[in-house]
Symmetry: C2
C-alpha cells in the first residue's frame, strides 16, 4: 500500500459511509415501506451490517493509520477531519469487544422486556433486567472515563454531545428548575385568565389526510426543505432519517385534527434542514456530519417552537391552513392550542414549559444511577418523589408512566436525556441572537419568508458540520456560552401572561 | 478459528446475504421512493457495497475453505449447498480483478453513451464504445471458457442459466424460428378473419389509478402473492425486486386504459411467487436462491401468458374488472386486445407470437459478435437483414430501434437474450405438464382458484431453489427435456385460428 495513511483513512471512511447509507435507508424504509413480514430478515441484515461496520471501523490497523496520519503534512481541513475521526474512533474503541457483546445482549433483552411489560405495568418483572443494564452502564462509564480522562457521567454525555460537561450542564438545568418552580404555576394562572369565559374552541373537524399532507409539504418547502433531496412519508412515530441527499421525514395523521401531524412535520423539518445543509465536501468523514444530539434537537425545536409556535408565524400559516383544509381560523383560535400548558406524567406529550422538568427528573436520577448513589430497586420511590416535587403528580402505582416510560434506560442510553433540554435552550439562545441581528425578524415569519433565518443558521451552524465541539459551536453562533436566561426569557414572553 | 470450513463459509454466506439484502432494497427503493437528488450518493453507496461484496466473496481464503469443506463430513443438504457455492464462486473468480475493472469502466461508459445517443439515433457516436465492450466480451468469454471448460458462448450463458448449452439451445430456437416463419402470417390472417367486420372495441376510457391499483392488488392476492411479505408500487419500468420476505413489485399506470398496468402486474407477480416460495432454510446460501434467468422468466410468463391471457382466466377476471373499474366487458371485447399479434420493431412491445423472432435475431447476432464472425461496424446491416428476413421490417435508417434498442449489449450482458424465449418455452411446457396432471385446470382459472397451479409449481420448481441445473429442473418438473413442441402447440391453439 503506497498511499498515505490519510488516504487509507479516506478510503475506509468511504466504505463506512456506504454502510451507513445502507443502514440509514434500510432503517427509514423499515418504518415506512417495508412489508410487515420482512421484519425478521431486515433485523438480521441490519445486525450483520452493523457488526461489519464496527469491525471495519475498529480494525487494529485503523489506530496505526490515525497515528501515522498525524505525522503527515496535512492541510488545515484534513487536520480537522483527522481530529474528528480520531475522536469518533476513540469513543468507538474504548470498550473491549467482549464487554460490548455482553452489553448488547443485556440491552436487547431489556428492550424486549420493556416492550412487553410496560403494557402490563409490571415493574417487578422488568426491574431485574434494568438492574443488569445499569450494572453494565456503570462499568461502561468507568471504562469510557478511564479512556477519555473524564468523569463517568461526562464520558457518557461525550458520546452524544462532544464537549458537554456536567460542570456546565448541571448548573444550567438547576437554573431552569428553580425558575420553573415558580413559573409553571404562574403560566398556568395566566393561561386560566386568558381563557376565562372564552368558549372552548373546537379545532376538531374532518381533515382528509391527503389535504393535510399537501399542507405539510407546502410548509416544508416554504421553510427551506429541498423536496428534490428528501420526502415526507407516514410512520407510527415521526422521525427524520435517510441521508443528507435524501432526507426522509415522517409524520402521522389523525383525520379529526391537523395540529399533531403539522407540528410533527415542522419538528422533523428542523432536523432535515440541518442534514440537507451539511457541508458536502466532507460528507463521508465524521467532520461533515451533524454536531451531536443537543445541536440537532436545537434545530428541530427552533423550527417547531421558535418559529412554529410564534404568533407571527401563524399570521402567515393560518391562510395556508385555510387554503389547504378549508377551515378559517383566527389567532385567538389557534394560540390557546399551540401554547397550551399542562402538568402531565408523560414526557413526550409535555409542552415546552413543563418539558424541562421531565428532563431534570431523569438527569438527576440517571446521574445517581450511574454514580451508584441510587439503585434500581429504589427507582419507583425516587421517581415518584421527584415527580411530586417538580410537577405535583404521583406515579407510585403506575410505573408504566413512571420509570418505565422511556426506552432510553432499557437501551442503555444514559447521558442522552440532557440533550433534549440543552437543545431547547440552544434554540432559544439562537433566536435571541437572530433577533439581535435582525430585530424585524417577526415580520419575516408573518410574511412566510425564511431565507434570512436559514442563511443565519446555515452560516453559523449547518455549514460547520463537526468542526467545533458543542459548547464551541454555541459560542461561535451566538457570541456567548449557553445561558438559561434566553430560555427563561422566551418562556416569560410567550407564557408569562 | 476452531470452526469447520463449512461453518466459516456459512458465516461468510450470512455476510454476503446481508449485503445482498441491502443492495436489493436500495435498488428497489431507488426506483420507487428515493428523492431525485439522492441518485449520486446512492450510486456511490451501491458501488462501494458491491465492491465490498466482491472482495469478501473472492478473498483468497474462500477458495481454501471451499477445498477444506469438500473434505469434511457433510450431510446431503450441506454437500448440495457447498456444490452450488463453489459454482457461484468459480463464476465470480474466473476473471482477473484488473480485467473486471477495465470491463466495468467500458461498460458504464457505454451505457451512459447509449442513454444519451439512442435518443438522438446516433449510431456513429455510439459504435466505438460498443466496439470496446465487444472486444472485452470476447476476452471475457475466452477467460470464462478456459476456467469452466466450456465453449465461449456457453461460458457466458452459464452465468444466467447454469447448464444451458448452445448444443441444445440453438436447435430449440431454430425449431421455433422455422415454425414461426410460416406461423406468423397464418396467425395474422386468422386474426384478420376473426376481427373482420367487428367494430373496433374501445377499451379506452378513464380509469382512476387508485382503482387500478386495487384491482391489481386483488388479483395478486388471488394468484397467491403474500401481501404480508411484499408490496406493489409504481416505477418507470415494472420490475420485481426486494428480498423473499419483502418482495417489491412495481407497475406503471395510464389513466386511459388498464391493461398495460394489469398485465405488467401479472408478469411481476409471477416472478414474485417464485421468490416468496423459495426454501427459507438455505436463504443465505446460493442453494436457496432462484435457479437462473430462464426459469425465473418462465414463472413470470407462466402467470402473464399461460394464466393471464388464457380465455378461461378472463371468465373470472372480467367480473373483477367490472367490480373495481365499473366497466362491463365481454370475452369478445378483451380477447382481441390480449391476443393481438403485430409485427413490430421493438422487442419489449412484441406479442408472444413474434417475440421469439426478436430473440432469434439477437441470439444469432451476439453469437457471431462473441465468436468474432461479426464486427460492430457491420452490425446495422446484419441487424437489418435479419429483421427483414424474420419480420419483414427495416431498421437501416433507424438504429435507435435497431441495434441500439436494448441496454443488454452496452451493459456487456451477452448470453442473456436466450433466457427470455427459453422462459416462454418452459412456461408452455409447464402448462402442458399441468394439463396432463389436471385436465380440468381451465376450470380452476375460470373460478379464480390458483391453489392447484401453485401447489404444482411449489413442489416442482419453487421449493427446489438451486438444487438442480436449468435442464435438470425442467426435466424434473415436466418429465422431459425442453422441447419447442409445447410452445408451438400453445401458439397454434391460441393464435392458429
Amino acid at each position: 500500500m503506497a498511499s498515505s495513511a490519510f488516504a487509507r483513512l479516506d478510503e475506509l471512511a468511504r466504505r463506512l459511509h456506504a454502510l451507513d447509507h445502507a443502514v440509514s435507508i434500510l432503517a427509514a424504509d423499515e418504518a415506512t415501506h417495508m412489508a410487515p413480514g420482512g421484519g425478521e430478515d431486515r433485523a438480521d441484515a441490519l445486525a450483520v451490517l452493523s457488526g461489519m461496520r464496527h469491525r471495519m471501523a475498529t480494525a487494529p490497523q485503523v489506530a496505526d493509520w490515525i497515528g501515522e496520519a498525524q505525522e503527515e503534512a496535512l492541510g488545515e481541513e484534513q487536520a480537522l477531519a483527522l481530529r474528528e475521526f480520531r475522536r469518533v474512533h476513540r469513543n468507538l474503541t474504548c470498550l473491549p469487544a467482549g464487554f460490548v457483546e455482553r452489553q448488547t445482549h443485556a440491552r436487547l433483552r431489556c428492550e424486549q422486556l420493556w416492550r412487553a411489560l410496560r403494557a402490563r405495568n409490571d415493574w417487578a418483572g422488568f426491574a431485574p433486567a434494568l438492574e443488569g443494564v445499569v450494572a453494565l452502564v456503570r462499568e461502561e462509564a468507568a471504562l469510557r472515563a478511564e479512556a477519555l480522562g473524564l468523569s463517568p457521567y461526562d464520558a457518557l454525555m461525550e458520546q452524544y454531545d462532544p464537549g458537554a460537561r456536567m460542570a456546565e450542564v448541571a448548573p444550567l438545568l438547576d437554573d431552569l428548575k428553580t425558575f420553573l418552580a415558580g413559573f409553571v404555576p404562574r403560566a398556568l394562572d395566566a393561561q386560566e385568565r386568558r381563557l376565562a369565559g372564552r368558549p372552548k374552541m373546537p379545532l376538531a373537524g374532518s381533515y382528509p389526510v391527503e389535504k393535510q399532507r399537501e399542507l405539510g409539504l407546502s410548509m416544508m418547502a416554504a421553510l427551506g426543505f429541498d423536496l428534490s433531496r428528501g420526502s415526507l412519508s407516514v410512520s407510527h412515530h415521526p422521525f427524520c432519517g435517510g441521508v443528507p441527499s435524501d432526507v426522509r421525514i415522517t409524520t402521522r395523521y389523525r383525520s379529526d385534527e391537523f395540529l399533531s401531524a403539522l407540528m410533527g412535520t415542522l419538528h422533523e423539518t428542523g432536523h432535515a434542514l440541518y442534514e440537507q445543509n451539511l457541508p458536502r465536501q466532507w460528507a463521508h468523514w465524521p467532520l461533515g456530519q451533524a454536531r451531536g444530539m443537543a445541536i440537532h434537537e436545537s434545530q428541530s425545536l427552533f423550527v417547531e417552537k421558535q418559529i412554529g409556535r410564534n404568533p407571527a408565524f401563524w399570521r402567515w400559516a393560518l391562510p395556508a391552513v385555510e387554503r389547504h383544509l378549508g377551515v378559517g381560523l383566527t389567532l385567538d383560535d389557534i394560540l390557546p392550542r399551540i401554547h397550551r400548558v399542562e402538568r402531565g406524567l408523560i414526557r413526550v406529550d409535555a409542552d415546552e414549559v413543563t418539558y424541562p422538568l421531565h428532563i431534570v427528573l431523569r438527569f438527576e436520577l440517571e446521574r445517581a444511577l450511574v454514580e451508584g448513589a441510587l439503585d434500581v430497586a429504589d427507582l419507583p420511590e425516587a421517581w415518584d418523589e421527584k415527580m411530586r416535587a417538580l410537577l405535583g403528580l404521583s406515579t407510585l402505582d403506575n410505573p408504566a408512566d413512571g420509570p418505565m416510560q422511556d426506552v432510553h434506560w432499557p437501551s442503555a442510553a444514559f447521558g442522552y436525556f440532557p440533550s433534549y433540554t440543552l437543545g431547547a435552550m440552544i434554540a432559544a439562545q439562537l433566536w435571541a441572537a437572530i433577533e439581535r441581528d435582525h430585530p424585524d425578524i417577526d415580520g419575516d415569519l408573518a410574511a412566510g419568508r425564511f431565507e434570512r433565518l436559514n442563511e443565519w443558521r446555515r452560516e453559523r451552524i449547518w455549514s460547520l458540520g463537526s468542526r467545533l465541539s458543542t459548547p464551541e459551536l454555541i459560542r461561535h453562533a451566538t457570541g456567548e456560552a449557553l445561558d438559561a436566561a434566553h430560555m427563561k426569557r422566551h418562556l416569560e414572553r410567550r407564557y408569562g401572561g
